[in-house]
Structures are given as C-alpha cells and as structure tokens.
C-alpha cells in the first residue's frame, strides 16, 4: 500500500486524467446532463420537478445501497426486483387481513405490516446468504433461483392481482408525510444511508466487508469469520431492499405483484455508474447515492422529453456497459 502514492505521482499525466475521469466522469456528467435536459425541456428545472427528482432518487438510492452491500463482498443480487414484489404483496396482505376491523390501533397495524415486510425481506436474505455463504453456491445462481422463487410466491399470494385498500396512514407514514419541507421517502432514505455508511466505516463488521471483498483468502487468514459475515451481509441487503419495497408500496398505496419487475437493472446501473467496482472491496453509500441521482436524472429527463420506454431500456444497458468499461481504468487507493 505504501508504494501506491509514489506510483501514482510517477504515473503519466494522461494516465492520471484517465484515472480521474474513470472515478468521477458520471459525477461530472450528472449536472451537465441536468443542464442539457433543462435547456431542451424547461419543465425539468422547475422546483416542483427538482423536488420530485430528489424523491424519485431516494427509492433508487436505497436499492442501489442494497446492491452495493453484496457487490462489496464480490457477490451480486439478481433477485432484488422480485424480492420487492414479494415484500410489497406480503406487507399489503398483512395490512388488509382484517386486523383493522379487529380494533387494532393504527400505529400497531402499521407496525405489524412493516414487521411482516421486514420478515419477508429477511427470509429472502437468509435463503440467499445460506446458499452463498454456507453451501458455497455461486451467488448468481442463488439469486437467479431466488428471483424465480420470490416471483412465484408473490404472484401466488396475490393471485396475480394488486392488493388494494391499504390504510391511509401507511401511505402517509411512508410517502406523503412531510417533515421540514422534505417528504417521508427522502427522510427514510437519508437516515438509512447514513446508518449504513456509519456501519461500513465505523464498525469492525463494516471494515471487514472491505477486506473480504478485496481478498477473501487474506480475510480468512486474518481471522475474519468470512462465512458468517457474508451471510449477514445478504440478510442486511435484503432488509434494506425491504425498506425500499415498503416505501414504494406506500407510494402506489397497493401491494403490487409486478412492482419490482423493472428495478434490477436500474439498481445495478446506479451502483456501477456511482463507481462501485464489481471486483469487490471498494465503494460506499456515497457512490450508490450518486449513481442513483445520475440514473434518476437520466430517466426523469427521458420521461419528460417522451423517450419511448423500450428505448430507455436500450440506453440504460449502454450506460451500464460504458460504466463497466471505465471501471477498468480506476486505480483503487
């Protein structure tokens, strides 16, 4: 590690510019993109839309943070989208089972719904973590499998139809409520992201994740309980997904079996655009949030200038490829 600064200072100038660009290109591009889009379509710069943009990106920031946690330890979560659907449906079902008629106070009713949502998230996380950390199955296969399982359970539990009639207080708590001028999703995302970042940078567990990601063998030798930490990380990531899923459920005010269908790709795009390396061991919540902002600006802009939804998929795919290509030029310090 001590040789890094010298080798950096000795690196040629173009090399250093490339390195800088590889790290911060999308961070620089986000305001530029916003500016260009605002010139094309002035509505984008309206304070109403900007506030809307912040709210929109708070959901993606949560999902990208979850994806970041598992990518940090060289893992991956393909099941993110269908986990969101599963949690949305189960939470909504819990909220509408008739507990309200039974005279349960609103606060406890919502607590029960949130509890069920977190529990559903934890179960997916336990499955992913157990298969990955204990059975040592490749994470892509595990999460490809749990993608199918969660999708199946979500569709069966809901009969393929949305679950309506959620208590209004639920949407208020997770969506429409306002504190100090910012809406509930923004506050939830802020608190969650801060907590995650503190955990990553200040706890032994958090620091160990970086070691596991950059060199699992060394982590093992250094006495880090790798299997246990990997397991916990998958559970934690799915819990974070659960929070995001409930925020979205509050927004639609119904449990949707197709809610998460299109979330996987943006969550990955946000993570890689934000500068999280797929080689593991680098990145933090800041990267995920930055990536989420960029992707949100992009899709918000594309929506306002009425780019076809299918074409948006194509563009998102291209953005991912560019971001991954840039990843090669990053020197990690």
């Amino acid at each position: 590690m001590s040789t890094t600064p010298t080798s950096l200072s000795m690196a040629s100038r173009p090399r250093r510019i490339l390195d800088f660009l590889a790290h911060y290109l999308f961070w620089l591009l986000a305001p530029v993109l916003l500016l260009v889009l605002a010139l094309v379509e002035p509505r984008i710069a309206s304070s109403r839309n900007l506030l809307n943009l912040v709210t929109q990106s708070s959901y993606l920031a949560v999902f990208a943070s979850a994806q970041m946690l598992v990518i940090l330890i060289r893992g991956f979560d393909l099941s993110l989208g269908s986990t969101v659907s599963l949690i949305s449906v189960l939470t909504a079902l819990a909220l509408t089972t008739g507990l309200a008629e039974a005279g349960l106070p609103t606060f406890w009713l919502i607590a029960a719904g949130v509890g069920v949502g977190l529990l559903a998230g934890a179960s997916v996380g336990v499955f992913n973590g157990f298969c990955t950390a204990i059975l040592r199955v490749n994470p892509f296969i595990v999460t490809l499998g749990s993608l199918g399982i969660a999708f199946g359970v979500a569709s069966m539990a809901s009969g393929g139809r949305p679950v309506f009639d959620l208590p209004e207080a639920f949407s208020e708590a997770l969506y429409s409520g306002q504190v100090l001028g910012l809406s509930a999703p923004v506050w939830i995302a802020l608190v969650l992201c801060l907590a995650l970042q503190l955990m990553l940078s200040r706890t032994v567990f958090g620091r160990s994740l970086y070691l596991i990601g950059s060199n699992p063998r060394a982590a093992e030798v250094a006495g880090v309980p790798v299997a246990r930490y990997v397991f916990i990380t998958y559970v934690l990531a799915s819990l974070v997904v659960a929070v995001g899923a409930m925020m979205l459920t509050g927004r639609t005010s119904s449990g949707e079996p197709n809610l998460g269908g299109s979330l996987l790709l943006p969550s990955i795009a946000a993570a890689v655009v934000g500068g999280i390396s797929l080689q593991g061991g680098t990145g933090g919540v800041g990267n995920a949030v930055m990536g989420a902002l960029f992707i949100s600006v992009l899709s918000n802009g594309m929506n306002l200038i009425e780019v076809d939804g299918y074409l948006q998929d194509v563009i998102l795919g291209l953005v991912i490829l560019v971001a991954l290509y840039l990843d090669r030029f990053r020197k990690y310090r």
Partner: protein, 330 residues
C-alpha cells in the same frame, strides 16, 4: 474462491459421471410415474410437444454450455431469441410481396441469424477484449436487445410470414418436427468438435485455466469471442424455429430462457467454474427439464408455482455440485 479447480481432472470426470448417471434413470422414472398417473402424457400430441420443447431448449442450452465452459455466463439468450424472432419476421414481412416465398424465407432466416450473431460478437468483444464481467455484459446486452426487439414491434406480434417458412416450424418429417433434427445436428456437431478437434481442446483449456492457456499460446481471445457468438447464434436458431412454429414474430419470445438453459446445463454436470461440460449430456438435461415442466403442467400445478420449483431445483443441483467439489478438494 480459492477451492476452485484443485480437483484432479479424473476426479472431476468421475463427479460428472456420477451426476449424469442418475439423469437418464430419473427421466425414465418420471415418464413411467407420469404415464401411470396421467394417461394423457402418452398421447402422441403431448409427447411431440415435449420433444419439440426439449429440442429448442437443447439448442439454446448447448450454446449456454459453451459459454459456461469458458467460465462465462450468457444471460442474454432470451432477449436474443426475441430480437432474432422480430428481426426475421419484419424482414420477411417487408420483402414478402416483392420476392418469392423461398427467397423471402431465406432472407428472413439470414437476418435473424445475423442479428443474433451481432449480439454474440458484441458480448464476446466486451468480455474478451474489454474484459468486463460476463454476466454484467450479457445482462446489459439483454436489456439492449430486448429493448430493440420491443421497440421494433411495439409489443405487437408481426404476422405475414411466408407459408414456406411456417411449414419449417409446423411440418414434420418421419413423424418428427424440424426442431428435433436441428437439435440432433447441433448436439452431434458440438460433441464432434469437443471430442475430435483442437478447437474443442482449446475451449476446455481456456475455461479450465485461462492463464495457463494464454501462456501456452492458445488463441484464448478467439475462443472466448467464439463461444459467445455461438451461443447467440444458437439462440437465434431456436428463435427462428419457434417463430415458424408460432407463425409470427414476437418481442416477448424466450422469456425465462436464461434460467432454463443454465438449469439444463448444470443438471447435466456443466461446472460453473469452467472447463467441464459435454453437449450430449446437456441434451439429456434439456429433456429432463422439459419433462419436469410437462409433469407439472399435466398435474395442473400453476405456472407461478412452477417457477418456484425450478428456482429451488437449480439452486439445489448447484449446491450438490459445490458440495461435491469441496469434498474432492479437501
């Protein structure tokens, strides 16, 4: 991660043999039990459907196997199928009035295969030259080609295909549909390449130990690009057969194909750690997957429940494989 490939090649071969040994037996057991519970299983129409579905899956799964052998992943097979279907159908619909049916069909087939090949070369280039992680590349290209396919059709099926082309999918020769012959040729050719040619040896070497292969001067780059091109080309071939059978080009073709093809490959003993896998076993794996599907259909298990069973099943198979690999290396 460090436990990969310390297995002795002979031991690995034994592991593969052990896992494949059960598969034909399992197929026979399922078939017999199913025929007993549900006589409809033995109807000519049902058997033909199973066979046709299995043949299409075989074609795609053989391509997936080639990629897996090289230590890659191809998540884009489903989207490539959609793209190839749409591109070939729109080509045929566009030229249908000015050219003879035979020429139109040929042009459509070439366009479909060309679209597949293009995606495959793009995958291969990103993986081999740009060195981007395979599953990310193919996830991104899946989004791109799926998006293009839907963009071209707006989600509406494309009709107006020449009769000669449709006959390719619906007709039968000696009682078997064209897909079965196509699958037989693909499997036989791949087995031949794997067993008898230098290309096959290079492929295994590349996947088994890419670094050693590079140092020994093998054309690793070409092998890597080649497997992705082959995988997409085979997916496009399956898509053309399916398009002919359906009689229309559809942007939603091939959904769930990535999971199914990986499933067929891993139950046939193809290792996710690269360097292991044989085409004829993958063919048996594909037949097994289709039989399982058919069994669940006939027993009226909801299609949603089927995705649960498939997901669990694939994770289980890979878990057993990983457990065995751990035991061997310990």
């Amino acid at each position: 991660m460090s436990t990969i490939s310390h297995t002795h090649p002979k031991a690995a071969r034994h592991a593969v043999l052990a896992s494949i040994g059960l598969l034909p037996a399992a197929i026979v057991v399922i078939a017999v039990v199913l025929a007993y519970i549900e006589p409809r299983f033995l109807s000519g129409q049902n058997l033909l459907n199973v066979l046709r579905g299995a043949a299409l899956l075989m074609i795609v799964a053989v391509g997936q196997m080639l990629v897996l052998i090289s230590r890659g992943f191809d998540l884009s097979v489903g989207a490539v199928m959609a793209l190839a279907s749409v591109v070939s159908a729109s080509t045929m619909a566009a030229f249908g009035e000015s050219l003879s049916p035979g020429m139109t069909s040929l042009l459509g087939i070439l366009a479909g295969l060309g679209a597949g090949l293009l995606v495959g070369l793009c995958n291969g280039f990103c993986v081999a030259v740009l060195r981007i992680t395979p599953f990310m590349v193919t996830l991104a290209t899946a989004s791109i080609s799926g998006g293009v396919a839907l963009l071209l059709t707006n989600g509406i099926p494309i009709y107006g295909l020449p009769k000669a082309f449709i006959a390719l999918g619906r007709g039968s020769w000696l009682g078997l549909p064209a897909a079965v012959y196509a699958a037989a040729v693909v499997v036989a050719l791949t087995v031949y390449i794997q067993r008898r040619t230098a290309l096959g040896v290079h492929l295994y070497a590349t996947g088994g130990n890419p670094h050693a292969a590079r140092v020994s001067g093998l054309p690793v780059l070409r092998a890597q690009i080649g497997v992705y091109a082959a995988s997409s080309l085979l997916a496009a071939l399956a898509a053309l057969l399916l398009t002919a059978q359906l009689g229309s080009g559809q942007g939603s073709l091939g959904e769930g194909m990535a999971l199914k093809s990986i499933g067929a490959a891993v139950i046939a003993g193809v290792s996710l750690q690269g360097g292991v896998g044989l085409a004829h076993r993958v063919a048996v794996g594909a037949l097994f997957m289709l039989l399982l599907n058919n069994a669940m259909d006939l027993l009226r298990i909801e299609s949603k429940a089927q995705t649960i069973v498939m997901g669990l099943f694939i994770v289980l198979v890979v878990a057993v494989d990983a457990y065995r690999a751990k035991g061997k290396s310990a």
